[in-house]
């Protein structure tokens, strides 16, 4: 269990994290989502006691991280890939971490095997690729077999095979009853991995919800209807309180009424239907919509959120 209450971090006038409150519970993978620069890494550093909050509080297992008796055996974290001395070998890096919490060198070898670095364990880590660095970071996080795990952008730099491996690893860890908190700026990745999400933008909490709820809450959910008598159906739907838009291709986009209600209404009128298709937003769109106002660093070529007339499924 990780609990943040009113967590804030200010750097001078800049508010990196502002009044952030959320709970990360065991047994599920909780995604930590936000655009780049939204305060995810700062929050994770505060959880790990590396940065001191300007205000508020965050605890793991009900305690401040600094007060844990066996930090590495209780909480594991991958905070940044390649946060390792380039001249030190992967084995030496893990050994020095293991020794702080009285873990054996045999445990180090076990982890090297698990992440697939055994063959390069004695090579200088400076020669590692980003993906290998990530694997080493994951090994460090798992070293103490902790109940609580934090991963900051763990799939960065991994090849598709590695991404799938991380995804299954995270799910497996959650199934064992661990608390798994994973940050990402990629909603699509979280959609495949996370059960719950904490979404932030500009350091503020936007939403904490399950992936399913996130989808159903989204205003991007609508029903596309085609009918030779579209105008008649539109009026009837609007009388029922739905919001109906007539699109350029002659179809109707209906919000505020589901496919069941629309179908029944059409039968009652009666109106012939050629198409009745619920359109659900992808998580990426739901995410874009939520964080639309809070993106810190805009590119200039993107058109913002995808407009609602595009066909999506």
């Amino acid at each position: 269990m990780i609990e943040a209450k009113g967590l804030s971090k200010h750097y001078g006038a800049k508010r990196a994290v502002e009044q952030l409150s959320f709970t990360v519970r065991p047994g599920v993978v909780t995604g930590f989502l936000g655009p780049n620069g939204s305060g995810k890494s700062t929050t994770m550093r505060m959880i790990m006691g590396l940065d001191t909050p300007s205000a508020g509080d965050v605890t793991v297992k009900g305690k401040h991280f600094k007060n844990l008796q066996w930090p590495l055996r209780e909480v594991g974290a991958l905070l940044e890939a390649k946060a390792i001395h380039p001249g030190r070998s992967a084995r030496a890096h893990l050994m020095m971490l293991a020794q702080t919490n009285h873990l054996s060198n045999a445990r180090v070898d076990e982890l090297l095997e698990l992440v697939g670095l055994t063959s390069v364990a004695n090579k200088r880590a400076g020669k590692f690729s980003l993906g290998m660095g990530q694997r080493l970071g994951i090994a460090a996080a798992l070293l103490g077999d902790p109940e609580i795990l934090l991963f900051d952008e763990p799939v960065n730099g991994l090849d598709p095979d590695g991404i799938r491996w991380v995804r299954n690893l995270l799910k497996g860890l959650a199934r064992e009853g661990r608390t798994v908190f994973v940050s990402s700026h990629l909603m699509s990745e979280m959609a495949l991995t996370a059960d719950e999400v904490v979404i932030i933008g500009r350091g503020k909490l936007i939403s904490q919800t399950s992936i399913e709820d996130l989808l159903s809450q989204s205003t991007e959910n609508f029903v596309r209807v085609r009918s030779p008598e579209a105008a008649k159906l539109k009026v009837a739907l609007e009388q029922q309180g739905a919001v109906v838009a007539l699109e350029d291709d002659g179809s109707l986009s209906v919000r505020g009424a589901n496919e069941v209600a629309i179908g029944e209404l059409a039968a009652k009128l009666p109106v012939v239907l050629h198409e009745l298709a619920p359109q659900s937003a992808s998580l990426e769109e739901a995410f874009m919509e939520l964080t639309e106002d809070s993106i810190e660093y805009h590119g200039t070529t993107t058109g913002g959120p995808i407009n609602s007339t595009g066909a999506k499924s």
């Binding site: 055996r73 905070l79 940044e80 390792i84 001395h85 890096h93 009285h102 109940e147 799910k171 959609a191």
Partner: protein, 277 residues
């Protein structure tokens, strides 16, 4: 998307009794210091310069002994001459002192360290113990070998000393101590400044530039300030004949140097606690 309905029960892990201890951290710091090449390089250079330069000067002194006048022969300080290399070795050990902490910052290892052992003062204390013991052994070894090799090379007819000669043991043991304590002071600087290049520059400036500045001051003032300078203290510790006027006695000088090192380390430790890692 997950199809999982009810999450599994929270994992309850049995932990060993007690908590992570100081000795665990000492082992970890020992692993850290011995698994990077910069340690081998700086220690290698400390030993080679510390022994080599003194040996070279001693050998040259003996071969030119007959051309020295009587005054020069009488005032010749055999122990100090054999230990002259320590004044070069001090820079190498200082670089290692800076690196043991600044490299953790520049590589990000510090965050991995504090994520495993968040009691920063305890980690820092373990680091001081490991570096302190290592640099003490290296410095004393260098100093004693430099002395014996130097005296062997001087031999007759040149004046040479044994450990029981007046001031000799103090110069040899004190010289090693001087190098070790200077290394610890450099570690304090590295902790405060956190950047390798910046901290090494500061260390070198204190030993080389500060004396030049004080030399430009009016005589009496210069003399009062000079005796507090680390480089002056070093020379006084090594000297067994004709101490400079107004200097502290060697042990008092070493004590002052220890105070410098402790002050720098304490400031460093408090900054380590307060600053974000």
């Amino acid at each position: 998307m997950s199809t999982q309905t009810t999450p599994p029960p929270a994992m309850q892990k049995a932990l060993p009794p007690g908590h992570y201890g100081f000795f665990d951290l000492v082992r970890s710091e020992w692993t850290k210091i011995r698994t990077v090449r910069s340690t081998m390089w700086t220690i290698g250079v400390t030993i080679v310069l510390g022994i080599g330069i003194g040996a070279l000067v001693c050998a040259l002194t003996r071969s030119h002994w007959s051309s020295q006048n009587i005054g020069q022969r009488v005032s010749f300080d055999a122990p100090a001459t054999s230990l002259i290399g320590l004044l070069f070795a001090q820079f190498a050990i200082g670089i290692l002192g800076v690196l043991v902490i600044s490299a953790e910052y520049s590589t990000g290892t510090i965050r991995a360290t504090f994520s495993a052992a968040p009691n920063r003062s305890r980690v820092f204390a373990a680091k001081i113990v490991v570096f302190g013991v290592l640099s003490f052994i290296v410095a004393e070894l260098t100093s004693f070998v430099a002395f014996f090799l130097g005296q062997f090379l001087l031999s007759s007819p040149a004046t040479h000393a044994t450990l029981s000669s007046p001031g000799a043991f103090r110069a040899v043991f004190g010289g090693g101590l001087f190098v070790c304590v200077l290394g610890l002071a450099a570690m304090g600087l590295g902790t405060i400044i956190r950047h390798t290049a910046g901290a090494i520059s500061a260390f070198v400036a204190i030993l080389l530039v500060l004396p030049i500045i004080t030399a430009a001051l009016p005589n009496q003032l210069a003399q009062d300030i000079r005796k507090f300078m680390p480089d002056r203290i070093g020379v006084d510790v090594l000297t067994t004949k004709g101490q400079e006027f107004g200097a502290f006695s060697p042990w008092v000088g070493l004590l002052i140097l220890c105070v410098y090192a402790v002050v720098l380390l304490v400031i460093g430790a408090s900054m380590l606690e307060k600053r974000d890692a």
